[in-house]
């Protein structure tokens, strides 16, 4: 478990392997296997209590054995609920260090999957140029870093000898089920709500809406 010095309320993390995999989802375990670690609110391993700013950030596992360098903020405010690292210092610092790793993972996803950059963009529901930027070291958000870890895991589990064979496997029709590629695309879509052009086509054409049909 992480070291704790009660007097100063200072908490380090990762001084020993704190990750009891049985307590975490398989996704977190995979992130760990891929060289990433989670800072998850509500566990003994958090660095910031329940403060939401840092919750669920993925950080490089290389950070294990180090301590967060902003304890003074925490000590002066003496509350788990207040700022531990100030915005945007915290997210910026964490992500600056994790971006090189993200860049390598994006390139790895491209190289091992056999997919084009445009196809990878579709997996993330972003533009091709956004993926290009990540592969060149551009900033990637937490959500996409999580998705990247999941996609890499999925690709590596494909029983195929090389990238081209993996691409074929990804795109292959699967009877009444969507292809693996289309299934993975759903991961990138999740719950981003539509906010523009929301009036249904049938309503624009004067037809009954779906709710009226029911």
């Amino acid at each position: 478990m992480p070291a704790t010095t009660g007097a100063s309320e200072r908490r380090d993390f990762g001084t020993s392997d704190p990750w009891d995999r049985t307590k975490f989802s398989s996704e977190v375990s995979e992130a760990w296997r891929l060289g990433l670690a989670y800072l998850t609110a509500g566990t003994e391993t958090v660095v910031c209590g329940s403060f939401p700013l840092l919750a669920n950030l993925i950080i490089p596992r290389s950070w294990t054995g180090t301590s967060i360098n902003c304890v003074r903020h925490f000590q002066t405010r003496r509350s788990w609920q207040t700022t531990f690292l100030t915005y945007p210092e915290a997210a910026g610092a964490l992500h600056r260090d994790s971006q090189p790793e993200a860049r390598d993972r994006v390139i790895q996803l491209h190289d091992e999957s056999g997919l084009t950059w445009g196809q990878i963009a579709k997996l993330f529901s972003v533009s091709r140029r956004a993926v290009h930027a990540w592969a060149a070291g551009g900033r990637m958000n937490t959500r996409n870093m999580e998705l990247l870890a999941l996609l890499l895991t999925a690709i590596q589990r494909i029983p195929a000898p090389d990238p081209e064979a993996r691409r074929v496997h990804l795109m292959a029709p699967r009877g009444s089920s969507p292809s693996l590629f289309d299934e993975l695309r759903q991961l990138g879509r999740t719950d981003d709500a539509v906010v523009e052009d929301v009036v249904p086509v049938r309503e624009r054409l004067g037809a009954p809406s779906a709710s009226e049909d029911r």
């Binding site: 533009s127 290009h132 719950d191 981003d192």
Partner: protein, 301 residues
């Protein structure tokens, strides 16, 4: 590149049918309900313009048409309105360089009155009418950002307004190369903070290279806004240099936005993205909102 204006449709009855943005010079006031509940007259010395679409007007005189006053604006306000940065005013160039429709006051008149009254067209052609229609829509349908984010984007807004007022400023010229700036949030706008925001610069088609592979470099993210803008406007179109320039500018714009903290626990992170019209999908258009800077500006007059 400019598109040649198409002539007005010359159908049989178009001379007599009222159309959107027709001007009625004879209307000297519009009814407005005062704070005490009385109907008072809002003076319109320059007349009014028809806001309703022509299909709403062509109903044999039945129903109501919407009218808005015509005003003249000072140079500064006129320039912002002409650039589409002030939603309240819409240019009527045919009447004169400083004539605008003021959507801050809209009232109704019976269609029969509008049909019978003498009208003159407020615009010259269908392209101008289409642009105007878009601006009327923008006035009423823009996305209202959460109030807590307004100060953060306000920092960028002030930079935009400060720099782009100077038509020859580097930043202003760079902005003219953008089709739009959009904002997305992971999990959707109804999700609870802290939000993961994504600021998306959609560059006009043809300005970025059609690279099949990632760029070698994203340039220097530590340069000033002016230097980043200068790089963009000097880089030859559709080259690797142009792409580097846009990534640099995106990074500096991100830095400007982050100068103003949105408050503890509101924004987990802010990423920026550079793309172009051809690469920005309709799916993403639907899931992002336009960074509509007028939304953040103080009310005028």
């Amino acid at each position: 590149m400019t598109v040649e204006a198409a002539p007005e449709a010359d159908d049989e009855n178009s001379e007599n049918e009222p159309r959107q943005v027709d001007v009625l010079s004879s209307v000297g006031a519009l009814p407005v309900i005062s704070t005490t509940g009385e109907v008072i007259g809002h003076e319109c010395p320059l007349g009014v313009a028809v806001i309703s679409q022509c299909c709403d007007l062509a109903r044999g005189g039945k129903g109501h048409a919407h009218l808005a006053p015509i005003v003249r604006l000072d140079d500064q306000t006129a320039r912002e309105a002409r650039r589409g940065r002030t939603l309240r005013y819409i240019e009527l160039a045919k009447l004169g360089p400083d004539y605008f429709v003021d959507l801050g006051t809209v009232a109704s008149a019976e269609n029969g009155y509008v049909v019978a009254e003498q009208r003159t067209p407020g615009v010259d052609n269908d392209i101008a009418r289409h642009e105007l229609r878009q601006r009327i829509g923008r006035r009423y349908s823009r996305y209202a950002f959460p109030a807590s984010l307004v100060p953060m984007f306000g920092t960028l807004q002030s930079k935009v307004r400060d720099k782009s007022d100077k038509t020859d400023s580097n930043f202003g010229r760079a902005l003219d190369m953008l089709a739009t700036i959009r904002v997305g949030v992971a999990g959707g706008w109804d999700s609870e903070p802290p939000w993961e925001l994504n600021l998306i610069l959609v560059v006009k088609d043809g300005y970025l290279p059609a690279d099949p592979d990632p760029p070698q470099s994203l340039g220097n993210s530590e340069i000033t806004l002016d230097a980043a803008s200068d790089y963009v406007i000097r880089a030859p179109l559709a080259t690797a240099d142009a792409l580097i320039g846009w990534h640099q500018l995106a990074s500096t714009m991100r830095r400007e936005v982050l100068k103003k903290s949105p408050g503890v626990g509101l924004v987990q992170e802010l990423t920026v993205e550079v793309t172009d019209e051809a690469d920005f999908s309709y799916l993403r258009l639907r899931r992002t909102v336009s960074l509509d800077l007028d939304d953040l500006s103080p009310p005028l007059g």
